[in-house]
Symmetry: C2
Subunit: 410 residues, 2 copies
């Protein structure tokens, strides 16, 4: 036993070691380079990193192949991204802006969800609820739901309108939007499992949310105590990260809920302890130095053009159109109902159009579960590029047309 315990795995590993160091070096260097290039042309950095993956991967140079190791590192990467997103949630902000933002978010999720589902059916024909095909349609819809407000926030901050009523509504709506998006995703993925009936899925989801509310509160109290005793010590971020990994694992293992949901919830649980920002900083270093680039590059590695035909391109364009319009309409109309001026409704609608990481993360999840194939990355990447480039321009136009009186939020 000792013999083959000692020799085999390490001999194997020693071989592996080369490959992983080589791949890691190529991946992080190429990702950083392309991210810089992307930012130079005003595109989001992640787009650059994905393109780096396309170039390095089987699609083109074939310098790096998707391996178990790359996939595992990528998985940790997406877990860290979602944990960080949770940590940055501002619960107070949410409570404050309250109902209006909630309404905007809900409709802003519902309309794209329906829009995407319908779009898919328009192309592939009607599918009865419960069928594989219906699930696929629903999934295309859920990809469209999650707003990634980062670029909007940057734009509004630059123009100094972030603290305006419109800005605050967008900000809070985007946060709630994420939460709802995650719940929708959780629900849709739950349907995937054959022996899951809808009721069971709802049951599991509710149970998970209840347990994370109760357990979460206990964890929160304990971490608050630890943080008070040992502020700014390494143990705080390390324990936080441990909790994140455990919740991600538990979510998928015991509730059939996406591990990214678990990580996101872990982040929300810890977002109110005093050292939340400190944890976030440490996690971010791990994320941007190694893991996150691997995640986005891995998406590029997986994207294969072999399935991208004229039909796919047409679909991608339709996908982008629907994704953008449904957000504007959904959020805009709701804002109007909440008595915003038409122009402000447009601002809110446009501000909510941007998509980013989360859309990719959801797509990636669907790919891993075999719900959709990798060719859909094309549509999502196109959506991210177009929205991230157009939204800032649109917002600038709307605000120069009708600047709104900056109101200080107390």
């Amino acid at each position: 036993m000792v013999a083959d315990f000692c020799d085999h795995p390490f001999a194997y590993k020693k071989m592996e070691t080369y490959v992983i160091l080589r791949d890691l070096a190529i991946v992080i260097l190429a990702a950083k380079f392309m991210a810089i290039v992307a930012k130079k042309v005003k595109a989001p950095g992640v787009v650059g990193e994905i393109i780096a993956g396309l170039v390095l991967g089987p699609a083109l140079l074939n310098l790096v192949k998707p391996s178990d190791f790359i996939n595992q590192m990528a998985e940790i990467g997406v877990i860290l991204i979602m944990f960080s997103a949770g940590l940055e949630t501002n619960l107070k902000e949410l409570k404050k802006s309250g109902l209006i933002a909630l309404a905007v978010a809900c409709v802003g999720v519902a309309v794209p969800l329906i829009g995407g589902t319908v779009l898919y059916m328009c192309i592939h024909g009607f599918a009865a609820p419960g069928t594989e095909e219906f699930l696929r349609a629903l999934f295309i819809g859920s990809i469209m739901t999650a707003t990634s407000v980062g670029i909007t926030v940057e734009t509004l901050r630059e123009m100094g309108y972030l603290n305006g009523r419109v800005g605050q509504t967008i900000l809070s709506a985007a946060i709630i939007d994420d939460v709802i998006g995650i719940i929708v995703l959780t629900f849709v993925l739950g349907l995937k499992d054959p022996q899951n009936n809808t009721l069971l899925v709802i049951g599991k989801t509710v149970l998970f949310l209840v347990l994370s509310l109760v357990g979460g509160y206990i964890i929160y109290r304990i971490m608050k105590l630890l943080d008070a005793r040992y502020p700014h010590t390494r143990r705080i971020p390390i324990i936080g990260l441990g909790i994140c990994f455990l919740m991600a694992y538990a979510a998928e293992r015991y509730f059939g809920i996406a591990d990214i949901t678990g990580a996101y919830v872990a982040g929300i649980i810890l977002c109110n302890i005093r050292d939340a920002k400190y944890i976030d900083r440490k996690v971010s270093v791990n994320s941007y130095m190694i893991f996150a680039p691997v995640f986005f590059v891995a998406i590029g590695l997986k994207t294969d053009f072999s399935k991208v035909d004229s039909g796919m391109i047409m679909f991608s364009l339709a996908f982008v159109m629907v994704a953008l319009l449904t957000k504007v309409i959904g959020c805009g109309i709701t804002a109007r109902i909440c008595r915003f001026k038409w122009i402000d409704c447009l601002k809110i609608g446009a501000g909510m159009m941007t998509r980013g990481e989360v859309a990719l993360i959801i797509t990636n999840k669907g790919l891993n579960l075999g719900i959709i194939d990798s060719s859909y990355f094309t549509a999502v990447i196109l959506l991210i590029i177009i929205s991230s480039i157009s939204v800032p321009i649109i917002l600038k136009l709307l605000y120069t047309k009708a600047p709104d009186p900056v109101m200080e939020v107390q």
Copy 2:
């Protein structure tokens, strides 16, 4: 092609994902907890982390098994540790204290190397140079060479004697000692490869050192420029890390030199750019949050008691004795020859006795290459514990007996 490309690896990965998140969580939480406990009882934190591995691993609880993933993460961990060590090298310090430190270091490496080799032969009988057995003996010797001066430095700093002549000599000697230790290791490992004759090994080693001198200087100039243009930007640590991974890979792949040597050299190359400390900080966060704990826990996971018998225990005790005495004698005598007072020779000898990470790293390397088996970890861990606990006590005694006139280093 697309089909099995999409389904198989990700299906596989999805399964894996659970395991890695679970294992990671358990490993980092247990490691941190045990490290804290270890420090409470004045033992070095790494000892705690190793014990965490022993407890979690097949030896006891069997909660975590050594997997390819764990081994890969551990490998990255040791690479980061050695890169960081390189980055923290103070070349100016080295030049300043110069010859005396060099002499102390050389003899301080030679005597333990011989001592360890002889010890092994005393037990297992004489082995002719060139034989497998001789290599094993030589390897036991090289495990004894590397001083890990961290604890000594801490002790001297506390007592305020770090800037004294003795303190400076110890500090510089320890750094040179590392470099020589690495060269010895590189050479010994080179011998491992059957079709390597001694000459070829020396050739390869020299070629590597020459190339890293030339190539290193070029890299250094380029990074200096980049650093001047983009100080304190993420790209600096990321590029640095990329270089580290590439050099580690190249060293082992093309020169048959340990990848850890490559990482260490990469660190030394970058240790003089303005942002060296900045790179080191970022790398350290990655190291202490995830990778380093995995490395030390993995050692515990691999340590199996099944081979530890009374003979092994006797050997471990002899091993510790020889390792400590050879350092004291080697460094002490040399210091005496350099006209230090006897008591100061003792201080220097005692200060150089401490062993740590590097000894483990070398042992681990030998294990991976099948030179020695995992049971030797017992001896090394014992050496680390005993030296790290005894040295501070001995130094305090010596300095209270004969405090030395603090001399300011210009």
